[in-house]
Symmetry: C2
Subunit: 437 residues, 2 copies
């Protein structure tokens, strides 16, 4: 065998920037147990890519290294027509388990669970349980830290952690040691709700039960860390106005990257075209008082920025469960007060700026105070509207069954831009009638 | 004792919307063991608030319920002048541990670790280890799932999980069962890097060691879930252009909310004032061709939106470790290609829109094609510039030692607004010279 210069760590660090061929090459240069360790650190997508380029014999080897739920993730990551071939390399029992897991949606408890967990009976003693677990292959799964106490029909009676077993006296009965109030998840529980339960109760593992209370599998906190990270990435990308991009930034093919961003960008662009229509409506006013045009970017961007703040805060608060659908009225009241406060602050700065420029540069002619007033009043209106629209939109989206995070900052900015123009020119025609207009 | 209608769950759900007095009242109505369970579900901030309103005797009771690291978090959450009083209610040993923990920054490994972990010696047998752990109070800590094998001076030799102890033959020596390659963190490791190590190696627990390799404590994955969630919230708020808001949205006092948002908003507003200056510079062009003003919002917002996409993607990729400082050149090349692609897509839509409006509404007069060309060329330039500025900014911030997430979407939009105007009017004066201008 060729001596390798690679270490697991070096290969892991270089991975994101390696081509597909370099990856396979690097992987094959690892020593066998390094390769095992390395393979277990990869994401399901990377595992799938790697496995599919290996000869069928090796494919079997690597796929069998994985627990059923991890194997299911890998199979889900390859194209549908190649899944059967991968399922075929599994042994019968694992194949049945994996097939069962593939029926669940990826983002529900059932799709995250591991079907291999350790079962105990309530009448065992602690010492009996320990020697039973020593013989039970399922207890050897690295991700198992609890044994579930079940009746003969798999109904959940209680739970003992491996820690409980270690610290309890050996002759005590399991039913005296086990915790009877077990926090469990139903098979179709959404992964975001599941992660909130894990965080709230500081759990390491949670059993997944069917409608009859029978244990179907267990979800481990390690999967939950990934879920929390994934959900945050999804929300951040949505807030930034990008359709969710699957995979690391540098690895997404360029055309896919453009497609993922062009959709939203074009939609926003088409929405923003209404600003040209709105401006066209006020073309005569602009022709008469060109000075009005100068403040258009300032005013609409202030609305966009305050709206983007409001929507970001509300979306995150919803994701963390701090704000629920029925809190909309409290949120609006908060944003009303906040928007007024922020509007007055920006209006004062804006008015001051115009007056100072007038005094020193004679920039805006004899009606500069009226212009300043127009800008200031518009700012209060636009910022207030930005806060209200930005905070309401996530509620509306959620009420309609959409993801509130789709109320991205650019989406809110676009919405507020169009209405901001209408507010600005309406205020202008009120304040400047008879003087500039 | 008064019979209570509250359950832990009901109180927990109502908590965010209760006033401080209602919370204390609700908490005191819980049955004793429900109250224990409830208290452990609260955040450090809520625990601190609650504890400070209880009489001194009860304060001692509740604080002693917590592990030293959790107690340290509570003490950190109260005002500095009241910390001594809280430290005084602890027993001597815990007080020493808590004081040691308070010396670490909150966001480094040392600030997250629990000082109570179980130690074993390599020469013990598995059965001896189990019966030793049965007598060791530290093993009773709910958050301990590993025992660390150390030499007499606390140097780390290896690790065994409680699961390993259960499944290994009872007469095997610990040194034969333990894993010798232990992934450990140094005391001052940043919590973001720490959480990446947890995720990469699927760990439940990691020992924290000092410069000499002596174990100081352990960090549990449950703390890491909180860290991941916290860091994501911080990044999301920064991307949305809000200074980090500590505490749930509905509970932050209104004035603090306004202050936290006004800072960025005013800074952006002052930056955005440059647009008025830039527009003022082109005032004569606008007066001659008012039609130019109509497309100002459309063009600058397109730059802002594409910049916001780019900055969001790069910030998140950096946070996940997918993109490092030295990758800036690869990122720029990507954004150059992406920006050109996106620019051409928007330019085509924009040109089409202007020509269609011209044909059907005769909207822009005889030079409509030239106007369309101006808008289209400007869009390519502005979108390209948005992508480049948006993706470069996080790199520049990180290189200067700032948090890349400060390159918020509104910040990038403001930057691109000003330059976008310059691009637009420069293109206009090139294309329209001799006709409209």
């Amino acid at each position: 065998m060729v001596e390798t210069n690679f270490t697991v760590s070096e290969l892991y660090d270089a991975w994101p920037v390696l081509s597909h061929e370099e990856r396979v090459e690097g992987f094959e240069l690892l020593r066998r147990d390094d390769a095992d360790q390395f393979f277990l650190q990869l994401s399901a997508r990377d595992r799938a890519q790697l496995i599919m380029t290996l000869p069928a014999g090796e494919r079997r080897l690597w796929l069998r290294l994985l627990a059923p739920d991890d194997a299911a993730d890998v199979i889900q990551a390859v194209s549908p027509e190649r899944r059967e071939a991968l399922l075929d390399v599994l042994d019968d029992m694992t194949r049945r388990e994996v097939k069962g897991l593939l029926d669940y949606a990826e983002d529900e408890a059932g799709g995250l669970m591991n079907t291999r967990y350790s079962r105990l009976r309530p009448e065992m003693t602690v010492d009996e349980a320990i020697s039973y677990l020593r013989r039970d292959a399922r207890a050897r799964e690295k991700t198992v830290y609890y044994a579930y106490v079940v009746d003969p029909t798999e109904h959940l009676l209680g739970v003992v952690s491996f820690r409980d077993l270690i610290v309890a006296p050996g002759d005590k009965r399991i039913e005296a040691v086990m915790r009877k109030e077990v926090i469990s998840a139903s098979e179709d529980l959404d992964q975001e709700a599941l992660s909130r339960m894990f965080m709230r109760h500081h759990l390491l593992m949670m059993p997944v039960v069917d409608a009859e209370g029978r244990v179907k599998g267990v979800v481990s906190v390690n999967d939950i860390v990934d879920v929390v990270q994934e959900e945050a990435t999804e929300d951040i990308q949505k807030i930034g106005g990008v359709a969710t991009i699957e995979g690391p930034y540098l690895q997404v093919p360029l055309l896919q990257m453009i497609r993922r961003r062009a959709g939203w960008l074009a939609a926003l662009f088409i929405g923003e075209m209404l600003t040209a229509t709105a401006m066209g409506h006020f073309e005569k006013d602009i022709a008469r008082a060109v000075v009005l045009a100068l403040f258009v970017p300032l005013i609409i961007s202030s609305g966009g920025n305050s709206g983007s703040q409001a929507t970001t805060l509300v979306i995150r608060a919803m994701a963390l469960g701090e704000v629920r659908l029925r809190d909309w009225c409290r949120v609006i009241r908060r944003e009303l007060a906040t928007g007024l406060g922020l509007g007055f602050i920006l209006a004062s700065i804006g008015l001051l700026r115009i007056l100072v420029w007038e005094i020193f540069f004679d920039a805006y002619g004899q009606h500069s105070f009226l212009i300043g007033l127009t800008v200031a009043l518009s700012l209060v209106g636009v910022v207030l509207w930005g806060c209200i629209a930005g905070s309401l939109l996530p509620f509306i989206l959620r009420a309609l069954g959409f993801d509130p995070a789709s109320a991205s900052a650019p989406f809110v900015a676009t919405l507020v831009d169009v209405t901001g123009l209408v507010i600005y020119f309406s205020v202008a025609s009120l304040v400047l009638r008879g003087t500039l207009l």
